[in-house]
Symmetry: C2
Subunit: 117 residues, 2 copies
């Protein structure tokens, strides 16, 4: 069952290591389905199913011009995920900063203890 809203469809399409590997391959340049299938030891229909999910999410496009119908990455479809993450980036950065401060405090205390000996 494919999600109906675009952001959910994109997240769902990325929730599979084979589909992410397909995108990584397409980041190097467009290619045919049979060439895409090669490293995965997968049947043609299995690869086609993954491509359909990626296509539904707008993450890849397939040319109708050439007979071999090459697939290409549509990286811009990842931008909405980046925008969504933006809201949370500040939160985890603050958290990592606090952890960093805490570790520095611990080190400073450790240093003082060393000097007291």
């Amino acid at each position: 069952m494919m999600p109906t809203d675009r952001l959910s469809a994109t997240f769902s399409a990325l929730a599979d290591p084979t589909r992410r590997a397909i995108l990584a391959r397409l980041a190097l340049g467009e290619t045919s389905v049979s060439e895409l299938a090669m490293p995965f030891k997968m049947s043609g229909p299995a690869v086609s199913k993954h491509l359909k999910v990626l296509e539904h999410a707008g993450l890849i496009a397939r040319s109708r011009a050439a007979q071999w119908r090459p697939c290409r990455l549509e990286a811009a479809a990842l931008k909405p995920i980046d925008d969504w993450l933006g809201e949370y980036r500040r939160l985890w950065e603050e958290r990592l900063d606090r952890l960093d401060d805490y570790l520095k405090t611990l080190q400073a205390k450790g240093g003082k203890r060393e000097r007291k000996k």
Copy 2:
């Protein structure tokens, strides 16, 4: 069925608008499950199911100390997604830049034509 690799589990957990709304609420501060459930007109078990998916992905944590077991956001669990996106950011930025250049070329041509009249 929950995915087994961490990155897939995180993407899968985010592939639902209700779960993303829960995260947005928790970004404002920790809260109880019953308070979380309120705006969603959902049953307790339905909310618990969503929370379980988010917890499995490490996106939220539930305190065992307090009796009301508050939920809190673990924003740092989103960082691996940000890191994964990093590989593709260059690609969509290049693409947007090219589109921008193309539009400028079109405008420049249009301007020339205007001046010729």
